[in-house]
């Protein structure tokens, strides 16, 4: 019956929707956060967002629609936790990615030995997904974020994030002096 509920959902119908899918949404949130309390909070946020945007749900597609909102909530949480951790590390002993990249002389001012250039290229090519295609297009083919997003059918924001992380992986490899450790 819930699948037939379209727009103009009443309070009772929404309540029924929550009851039907709360286990699914809670499980998804838990599988990504590994924390029961956090999973409950994110599951509540998922249903609040679902209620706010209930008119956007394709008829009869509540399961994938709620699963997408739940994974988005989990992603937002993990992302902010990751940024907090990275920022804390950068405030401490680790140099900021941007600082290291900015400290490097511009390409036209330096002459990289052929074997060194080849090594960096190999390092980029050795990156695994989800960074490989993004890094190749960005660093080697010099495509813009929008072009990469269009080519790979990924949101520009996600491409931005993946480029940032690819830079970190490359930076770590360059600092270590070898590219083998960056392969995840």
């Amino acid at each position: 019956m819930v699948e037939r509920i379209a727009q103009n959902m009443t309070s009772d119908e929404f309540s029924q929707l929550v009851r039907q899918y709360e286990r699914l949404v809670y499980t998804i949130c838990y599988q990504f956060t590994k924390d029961h309390q956090l999973a409950e909070d994110l599951a509540q946020e998922t249903f609040l967002s679902a209620y706010t945007h209930r008119d956007d749900c394709p008829p009869g597609s509540y399961k994938p629609w709620l699963a997408r909102i739940a994974t988005n909530k989990a992603k937002d949480y993990l992302k902010s936790a990751y940024h907090r951790r990275v920022s804390a590390a950068e405030d401490g002993e680790m140099p900021a990615v941007a600082d290291v990249l900015n400290a490097m002389p511009p390409p036209e001012d330096i002459t990289i030995a052929k074997d060194e250039a080849a090594r960096i290229r190999d390092t980029i090519l050795a990156l695994k997904e989800p960074y490989h295609q993004v890094a190749v297009l960005f660093f080697l083919e010099e495509k813009s974020v929008d072009e990469i997003a269009s080519a790979l059918r990924r949101p520009p924001k996600t491409v931005h994030t993946q480029i940032y992380r690819a830079k970190q992986l490359l930076q770590n490899a360059i600092e270590r002096g070898n590219g083998h450790g960056i392969v995840q």
């Binding site: 929550v18 009851r19 809670y26 499980t27 209620y51 295609q133």
Partner: protein
């Protein structure tokens, strides 16, 4: 274990690892980022979430969610009607000052002097008269509301 294949999609073993909870935090972030935009991987993932594998939250979500929905609805309702009430109150105050008098036809004048309105009045004249009388009314109302510039302050007396 490969989380992504060469096309950038989640592998079967990667999705199984999500369900089994064996991924580290970075891998979970990467997987959730991918599922947030990839329809085909999301369908494959939800297919793994069979009813008998789903977890039950410690406390049912529906009562809390519905309470939060109601609180939000009440807040929206009051925000909206507070604005409407403020506009209505302002309109009443303006009405009291006589600003709208020019918009109401003066029936007594028309009934007493019907013979005077014989010549056709052009539309431009009507519009000019309307704005002139409205301007006079607003000026009069502002004079009543605002303190006069040449009036001595009350505490100076």
């Amino acid at each position: 274990m490969e989380l992504f294949n060469k096309e950038g999609h989640l592998t079967d073993e990667g999705l199984r690892a999500v369900v089994d909870g064996t991924l580290d935090e970075m891998s979970r972030l990467e997987a959730s980022e991918h599922l947030s935009f990839c329809d085909s991987c999301l369908v494959r993932y939800t297919e793994l979430l069979a009813d008998d594998t789903l977890l039950v939250p410690e406390t049912p979500l529906a009562p809390t969610v519905l309470a939060r929905v109601r609180r939000r609805a009440v807040r929206v309702f009051f925000n909206r009607y507070t604005r409407v009430a403020a506009v209505a109150a302002f309109a009443v105050v303006l009405w009291g000052t006589g600003v709208f008098n020019s918009l109401v036809p003066d029936r007594t004048v028309r009934q007493q002097e019907p013979a005077q309105i014989t010549a056709p009045i052009s539309a431009a004249t009507r519009v000019n008269d309307f704005f002139r009388s409205a301007g006079d009314s607003i000026s009069a109302a502002l004079t009543n509301i605002l303190p006069r510039a040449d009036a001595a302050p009350a505490d100076a007396k």
